[in-house]
Symmetry: none
Subunit: 416 residues, 2 copies
């Protein structure tokens, strides 16, 4: 089965943005259907280019995933071009129109004439409602080729690809597919990708049915285990055995699998112990709290987090003694410990987590240059501080610091 | 001049990585040569696909930038395919070979047979040494088309594109280049893309030298103004006039331009007035503080932000009276106002910003369903509360709520 993707949008050709949607589709396609995309093409919002690409791809592919250009504005040309290329007219789909009208009513926004554009589909094609947006998923058949049209807005793209396109492709390939493919991802913190690769080498001979791969999702590194086999049972057994050995080999650097996040794992560990958490963060300025509260149900274990940016916020919200700051400086182990202990006491939680450091671009000194952070943890077992140093710019230091703070708490809760 | 890019690499088609190199080239091409890439194609490490793509692109383009597949291993096929497609042989370039040998000696690494592969270039083409790596930049002419071959390793790609490819293209286009291109992006909050499009329509006739485009960067919508003209001065005047009219037409929904973010704009407004800010956020749980502290130098205006998730955190950190919560419920206008007023008083800042709401998936009631948020602002001019409602899942509600809170403060500071 030959599958290609076609993305449209001037912004993908003028340096404004990169196509990151395709990667999502490609990974799911490999994992769920055992297939890879043969070629991917990006064209601008140019009528002749779109039509030429649609014709060329429809002629040589079994499946084409087209994304972008489904918005309501006049530079959104994809559906018009799909009709023109196929030599059919555009028809307003009453179900899609009702969906769009309901969305606008719900939001109390007036419907403008150009919103009707999003309800038009090429004659003979199928429209699937999009609960994340106005433009539907459009499925068009041209000869032996099936074309799927999805919006380029990432959340709409992901929803429609995952809920409709991939299941359709699974169904289309089910009869011809003799093997089942499954992917299992183990997530690690604190180990470089090259070390992960070297460490895992002994497993390759032991698990020949598993393909080992790596992916950096900074600051995490992920180990991907891909297995193919005759049935779901066989493949899942093969994967479970390989994952078991990989976990044994790698130890505590593995923090989770699948859609685990550091915050989810920390939340589960806290819930199991019936613990609660308070945070005082300086250089990360809210990132750790935001990561925790991203988890649905976080209110069961997350009580509050303070972005104590100024010294006055540290003394007010985490009861850090002013004298301690004066004696050791605001970026220091004693202040980090006082923040963790203080915030735990102020909010009356079981655990306190803190961070203070220099995210840059300015700040820091010879002993503690930009990138240095102190992470404090206070639990019923006592308080501790770790010093870390991260390279890169402000954004990277903050990203690594926030994730590392959660990882320090995770390892502490695991008793290591 | 028609320019296209061709990237090769299996990893770009299996979900392992996205092509982020092209964006670098595209932005420089627009900025320095006033040109845009017409189409971009990604193929895997498949001989027939590479040759077919090279032939197709060479036939229709003036310039093709090819990246990837220049490494030493057997799955690096690009240069072989370039020779085969052009019907010429591969020759070892002695200067490149000496460069590779020197690199390996300098590092004390033994040269292996396959490293010689990187010194081979198609007969009749030009090789430019690459100080960042082994593979040279190869420039091949086929008929009216010039093909540039660069390695896909980002550091090498960027170096060769910036130092050689772009200057060559500047020289190639200097005589024919009669026009300069510039892009200006205006960023808006609180107006749907379709309304933006409709509102801007009258400007199209008034500014015929400007192309208007739209981009959704949820929850923001961006208006893109692209102008071409005889000189930088002319183009910048044309853009400034169009931007002036667009701002006048759209009013306060335009919050910034270029690389402005809501937090940067709010920070500038606070600094101008010598104001400081404290935040108490519930459902967004740290997102607003994280956005503020992403701005370098935020410590000049951001004092602290509390993710007051539990009621106890609201009463402790923002001095919200327990009785008020009992009387009105935690998601209510009085509590939002008390949070903004309270956090401002607790940290002694000029302004207080607060949010309380239901991000979902659970919570809410008939009057205030999931997606409802109350945003409180307290400034020297007094306190105010806005009620908003956002659709979508937890992640979307939090994203929209955090941005809207900053936007409410922005408008308040602007005196509207």
């Amino acid at each position: 089965m030959r599958i290609e993707t076609l993305c449209t949008g001037d912004e993908l050709l003028t340096g404004l943005t990169s196509d990151t949607n395709s990667r999502f589709f490609q990974a799911l396609l490999l994992e769920r259907c055992g297939l890879t995309v043969r070629r991917s093409t990006v064209v601008g919002d140019v009528r002749e280019d779109l039509i030429e690409a649609l014709d060329t791809l429809a002629a040589r592919c079994d499946v084409v995933l087209v994304s972008g250009g489904l918005g309501p504005t006049t530079d959104d040309l994809t559906i018009e071009c799909a009709a023109e290329a196929a030599g059919v007219t555009l028809l307003e789909d009453p179900v899609v129109m009702a969906h769009i009208r309901a969305r606008f009513e719900q939001r109390g926004i007036a419907l403008t004439g150009n919103n009707r554009r999003q309800a038009r589909v090429p004659e003979g094609s199928e429209a699937v409602l999009n609960i994340e947006g106005s433009a539907p998923l459009v499925i068009q058949r041209r000869g032996a080729c099936t074309l799927f049209f999805v919006p380029g807005v990432p959340r709409e793209y992901r929803h429609l690809v995952e809920s409709f396109v991939i299941p359709k492709l699974e169904a289309m390939t089910a009869s011809s597919r003799s093997t089942v493919t499954r992917l299992l991802v183990l997530k690690t913190m604190g180990v470089p990708e090259s070390h992960l690769d070297a460490k895992v080498q002994p497993l390759l001979a032991k698990h020949p049915a598993v393909t080992f791969g790596y992916r950096t999702h900074a600051p995490e590194n992920h180990l991907k285990l891909l297995a193919r086999g005759a049935s779901v049972d066989v493949v899942e057994q093969v994967l479970a055995a390989a994952a078991h050995d990989a976990r044994a080999l790698l130890g505590e650097v593995v923090f989770g699998a699948g859609d685990d996040t550091l915050a989810k794992v920390v939340g589960r560990a806290l819930l199991e112990k019936r613990f609660t958490l308070a945070i005082a963060e300086s250089c990360t300025g809210g990132l750790i709290s935001a990561a925790c509260t991203e988890v649905a149900g976080a209110s069961d274990w997350f009580i509050g987090g303070a972005a104590t940016y100024a010294v006055s916020a540290k003394t007010t919200w985490a009861k850090v003694p002013q004298a301690l700051v004066a004696a050791h400086g605001v970026v220091s182990a004693p202040v980090a410990e006082a923040m963790a202990v203080g915030v735990r006491e102020v909010l009356g939680t079981t655990c306190g987590l803190s961070i203070t450091g220099y995210a840059g671009p300015s700040g820091g000194d010879a002993a503690n240059p930009v990138g240095t952070v102190f992470i404090g943890v206070a639990t019923p077992a006592g308080a501790a501080v770790e010093k870390h140093r991260f390279g890169g710019d402000r954004e990277r230091v903050r990203l690594f610091a926030a994730a590392t703070a959660l990882d320090v708490l995770r390892r502490r809760l695991a008793g290591s």
